[in-house]
């Protein structure tokens, strides 16, 4: 998704400084485009759900894009991630294609899992995605095991385990972090703290200092503004490269916010959070706005860059949805396939 073709159109050769600024612009615009694609993807999911074209549940990632995009930008394609029920953003940021994602969400045959996984279970081994997981905290062991595998094989790969603040309530996470620390495994635990465990504020569910938990295991721990993709990326690069050098696991606590409800059907939210709070985050702390404002302040971009990116992202989403809507459902005989390898 990196926007290679937005380049300076100057005729004389670029100076070193200009070349660096061009590269910088391309890099950040690439991340912007990824975040926008995720945002538009989720808006489309919401529409599909509301118009009854999509079965089941969908947990939208809107508002949290900077976390997935910032972290995955620090990873190689062959690095692994494990994802969550709110995982569309992780999948896309790690390199999944929009059309096959939509196809999976609609239970169609060309979907990433042939329609057998759906929104909460998309896996794509080709982009290193070991799968979204509908058990809160359920992939902490898998991610840590994958990290042990990387270390055993000497592959130089690292693993990122995405989870939300709700997973801080799961014992498995602490069992896994303990072993990761003991064995110095190349895994980064990325907590997306969006303030709510489903429909309950985490101040009611999570005692003490959240960051003290990973620190108790001697795990390198950092906290970052999860709405600022530049901050997320910088922290992720530090922790990923550290893990790749064999210096052990890390924990990255990203403070973020879920713009929609726990899932698409969670519309009346007044009993657990206020409209004012939601409006504040959307107006003041939107990761897309924060990055675009910074790019404008730096004089790195012109408006045409944003226009071009938006046009391209919308076209991608539109084509992806069309592909998925027109795609066939799996053959009924597939129901008994893939129970056993």
């Amino acid at each position: 998704m990196v926007s290679e073709h937005i380049t300076s159109s100057g005729e004389r050769p670029l100076t070193a400084d200009e070349a660096m600024r061009t590269r910088e612009r391309q890099f950040w615009l690439g991340l912007y485009e990824q975040m926008l694609t995720i945002r538009l993807f989720e808006e489309q999911v919401n529409e599909l759900y509301m118009s009854a074209k999509m079965p089941g549940l969908a947990h939208l990632y809107s508002g949290e894009e900077a976390v997935a995009v910032g972290v995955c930008a620090a990873l190689r394609r062959d690095d692994y991630i494990t994802s969550t029920h709110r995982g569309h953003g992780h999948c896309l940021a790690k390199g999944a294609a929009v059309d096959r994602m939509f196809a999976e969400l609609l239970g169609k045959q060309p979907g990433y899992c042939r329609g057998k996984g759906g929104s909460m279970h998309i896996a794509d081994q080709e982009s290193g995605n070991l799968g979204a997981n509908a058990i809160v905290g359920g992939s902490a062991g898998i991610a840590t095991g994958a990290a042990l595998s990387c270390k055993r094989r000497g592959s130089g790969q690292v693993v990122v385990c995405f989870f939300g603040d709700g997973a801080l309530g799961q014992g498995l996470l602490y069992e896994a972090m303990n072993m990761a620390a003991l064995w110095q495994l190349p895994v980064i635990y990325v907590c997306e703290n969006n303030l709510y465990n489903e429909y309950t504020p985490n101040r009611e569910t999570t005692a003490g200092d959240m960051l003290a938990r990973p620190r108790a295991f001697g795990i390198q721990t950092e906290e970052v503004d999860g709405q600022d993709v530049r901050a997320v990326y910088a922290a992720a690069v530090r922790l990923v490269e550290r893990a790749r050098r064999g210096e052990g696991p890390a924990y990255l606590h990203c403070n973020t916010y879920r713009f929609y409800g726990h899932h698409v059907g969670d519309i009346q939210r007044g009993y657990y959070r206020s409209r004012e709070e939601e409006e504040w985050w959307q107006a003041q702390r939107d990761p897309l706005k924060l990055l675009s404002s910074w790019l404008r302040e730096q004089g790195l971009v012109e408006e045409r860059h944003f226009t071009e990116i938006e046009r391209r992202a919308r076209a991608l989403i539109e084509a992806g949805v069309r592909f998925a809507l027109e795609a066939p459902y799996p053959d009924p005989q597939e129901v008994t396939q893939h129970v056993y390898a």
């Binding site: 692994y80 979907g111 990433y112 899992c113 042939r114 329609g115 057998k116 996984g117 279970h121 896996a123 794509d124 081994q125 070991l130 799968g131 997981n133 058990i135 359920g138 992939s139 902490a140 062991g141 898998i142 991610a143 840590t144 095991g145 994958a146 990290a147 042990l148 595998s149 990387c150 055993r152 094989r153 014992g171 498995l172 069992e175 896994a176 303990n178 072993m179 003991l182 396939q337 893939h338 129970v339 056993y340 390898a341």
Partner: protein, 344 residues
Amino acid sequence: MSMPSVSSAASAPQAPEGGREITLGQAIREALAEEMRRDPRVLLLGEDVAEAGTPFKVLSGLVEEFGPERVIDTPISEAGFTGIGVGLAMTGMRPVVDIMFGDFLTLAMDQIVNQAAKVHYMSGGKLKVPLVVRTTLGATRRSAAQHSQSLHAWFSHVPGLKVVLPSTPYDAKGLLKTAIRDDNPVLFFEDKMMYQLKGLVPEGEYTIPFGVADIKRRGSDLTIVATSSMVQVALAAAADLEQLGISAEVIDPRTTSPLDKQTLIESARKTSRVIVVDEGYQSYGVTAEIAAVINEGAFYYLDAPVKRLGALDVPVPFSPVLEDLTVPTPAAVVEMAKILCGRA
């Protein structure tokens, strides 16, 4: 009542000439060592698996040969290290996870049932989990309610898992090697009271396929289907029944998932009377499933309803006097057989 047929204890895949007599524990260790030598991706992890070799000493010597990178002592975190096993298996390794007592499987249920069993299916066949979970079952060790259960029925109920129940050293070795080479999550239950059981095991390489029942003893009047250590109970009962002129066939499914339905049904059609013996709780258990399979496959051939003998539906009590009442015995099988054969 027909005369007892010639009842040889031997059946097709028994140990060939040249086998040595070793214990079931030694057979397990040999299987692990051979597979670890053959395939560097195989590694062991669990509580006290390295220097301690587990409380049952089944793994003694492995860490000395393969080192602590491949024989990994874990914290007491069954969910955590089982999950790590799943992650290892999904990314190119072939882990064998050790759950010391089968009762502790409850702590790892999510990792086994929601993760390992479903990854292949949920991913549309792209990801695989070649994981072996070795664990124990069986009562009468005076270990009370949390160290004595036989919970293999739970896992036999879950699509995506395979469940293995060896009853002899020969079977244990061949089945464990197959389990390690299988691309699916396999639950491998060893009866902790059988680790010292001796039997002939060949020197050479062999494996035993899953889903192939073994006829441990041929007979004509009655079929006793038995699993794990209950095979020994069934064989003892069959010997007693022979004295009474009742010829009992003893069939060991060896794996409950996959289940060799055909062999069970064929035997039931031949003998017309069936007892199913298993050490899991009787209600909603392995005996119920096997009885249903036989009823569906041999109904018109049966002279009597399929009878079942499972563990008593109580938490396993500590007092030896009470505990011994909870487990099927040869005497109980004989009594049931006599009733079925009109000899009571």
